[in-house]
């Protein structure tokens, strides 16, 4: 209690709230008691520390806002042709020969490595690795169960098609583009279900079995685009030990899990993915892995069969790569744009999840 009174006195003294008499008394006390003098000095320093910390947060906030504003107004450019052309050409001429040599060496190496990768790749049929797509039986059971509860809602799966597998996926463009794992999409098509249980028809627009990623596009009149996606997709690699969390559909309901990044490479040193420590179940496949700021750092894909809690996530920079592939594949996809603004930094996890829920979908693949 005495400590609190003293602290209160010190704070009032430092902020100049004391009356002149009290101040004189306190200063006298400071002079005669070195301990108190020391406390005042220490506390003053600490208050400055807090003030600086607070100012730092505010200036960061301002910078973030200014950047977004300028981006929106087109005063800044983060993509497309930007660097002055002349320089590029000048550069090209200067390094033409080096580039040519480097390219041919690179080509040979690439061929060699891709051969090696084919040979050693962590193939789907590796028994030590378990894909987290739900198998047919489980999904079928769930489907029946769902059917029992809500009879009036008819599924959007075509009548003569069979449900093959299920997993999770998440929006990367408000127009209805969803990223998920390639291994989930076993059949000819897929539907997606949002966190409120509403189904939408979708089509597979790109599938990349090497990266184990795929892009779905919702093609449904009932789909209403959300205003904006609250997360960005990280381009850089994340650091070891980073706190992560995931949302997915191991059940018919959205489920949250958290853990940490445990290695910078995946199964058997696979550099396309991270190893993460998280409890993942079949159905989590294709779900987003977020860092604590709510930015996507990966796509949850497989787990090690014999080890508990060891899972693997495809690195998020691969999403950037497949989006580029998608754009190249057809002019219709030219306008696909990954979210550029993350608005979840520094807010509470519950609130983050609340905002993220709408962007995470249950993916159900079907085939004839």
């Amino acid at each position: 209690m005495d400590d609190i009174l003293l602290l209160d006195a010190i704070e009032r003294y430092l902020s100049g709230e004391m009356s002149p008499e009290e101040r004189a008394y306190f200063e006298n006390l400071r002079n005669t008691t070195p301990e108190i003098d020391q406390m005042v000095v220490e506390h003053n320093m600490f208050l400055h520390q807090i003030a600086d910390y607070s100012a730092n947060i505010q200036i960061k906030q301002t910078l973030h806002e200014v950047h977004q504003n300028l981006l929106e107004r087109g005063d800044l450019n983060e993509g497309g042709a930007l660097s002055p052309k002349g320089k590029v050409i000048q550069f090209f001429n200067k390094y033409k020969r080096v580039t040519a040599i480097a390219a041919s060496v690179g080509g040979v190496i690439a061929l060699f490595i891709s051969g090696l990768a084919m040979y050693f790749s962590t193939a789907v049929n590796d028994p030590k690795l378990e894909q987290l797509g739900k198998d047919l039986e489980v999904v079928k059971k769930n489907q029946q169960y769902q059917g029992d509860i809500i009879n009036e809602v008819t599924s959007k799966i075509p009548i003569n098609a069979r449900l093959l597998s299920g997993g999770s996926g998440f929006l990367v463009d408000v127009k209805g583009y969803i990223v998920t794992n390639a291994h989930i999409l076993k059949g000819t098509g897929a539907i997606v279900v949002n966190s409120k249980g509403k189904e939408f028809k979708s089509s597979i627009v790109l599938i990349d079995h090497v990266k184990d990623l795929a892009i779905l596009k919702i093609n449904d009149e009932e789909y209403e685009a959300i205003k904006s996606i609250p997360y960005t997709i990280q381009k850089n690699n994340s650091d070891l030990g980073e706190e992560i969390f995931t949302l997915g559909y191991p059940r018919n309901e959205i489920v949250y899990g958290m853990g940490y990044l445990s290695a910078k490479s995946g199964f058997n040193g696979d550099s396309l993915s991270y190893q993460i420590q998280i409890s993942a179940n079949p159905g989590n496949s294709g779900g987003p892995v977020f860092n604590k700021n709510g930015e996507v750092i990966g796509v949850l894909s497989t787990k090690q069969a014999q080890a508990d809690g060891v899972a693997f996530a495809v690195k998020s920079k691969n999403i950037h790569a497949i989006i580029e592939d998608l754009k190249k594949s057809d002019t219709a996809f030219q306008r696909v744009k990954l979210p550029s603004k993350s608005s979840l930094k520094g807010i509470e996890r519950k609130v983050q999840i609340n905002k993220l829920e709408d962007c995470v979908y249950f993916v159900k693949a079907y085939g004839k």
Binding site: I4, L7, N56, L63, V66, L70, L76, S83
Partner: protein, 188 residues
Amino acid sequence: MKGDTNEQALLKGLAHNDSKAVEIIYKDNFNMIQAFILNNNGSYDEARDIFQEAMIALYEKSQTDSFVLTCQIKTYLYSVCRRLWLKRLQQMGRFTGSVDGFEETVAVEEDLETHEKRNAEFVIMDRALNSLGEPCKSLLQGYYLKKMDMNALAAEFGYTNADNAKNQKYKCLMRLKKLFFSQYNIGE
């Protein structure tokens, strides 16, 4: 000399976290830095990171009593960014030996050292605050960061009166101080 007074005014604005001034400085300088980073092995994200870091360094410099900028804002920001980027490249092992860009630079090493030290302190404070737990964390943030008054805080957290809230705040503050200094002194 008109340019000079203009820059002074901008720096003053920056020192007070005035978003208009920040915006002008941002707009005048960002593209140059972005081009520099992109031309030297960097990405858009990295350009943004580095530039904002430099802006914060300038902001911190502008807070000191003895603050004088002996060169143009542009030169200063470029020098800081160049230094930061070289360092980052080296850390990532992407450094190729030569960095393109021949703008004039000034010595900024000392400023950056202070800046890094401060960053380290902020990390300690951040960690200390986050390990406090609720409601201590929010209470202290409300009082010291959001500058809310004790009555408003008491109402928001449901304390019966401002004095109780104040007592609680001091208890939390003592814990925070302990956490902070235990880390801080290790760092020294």
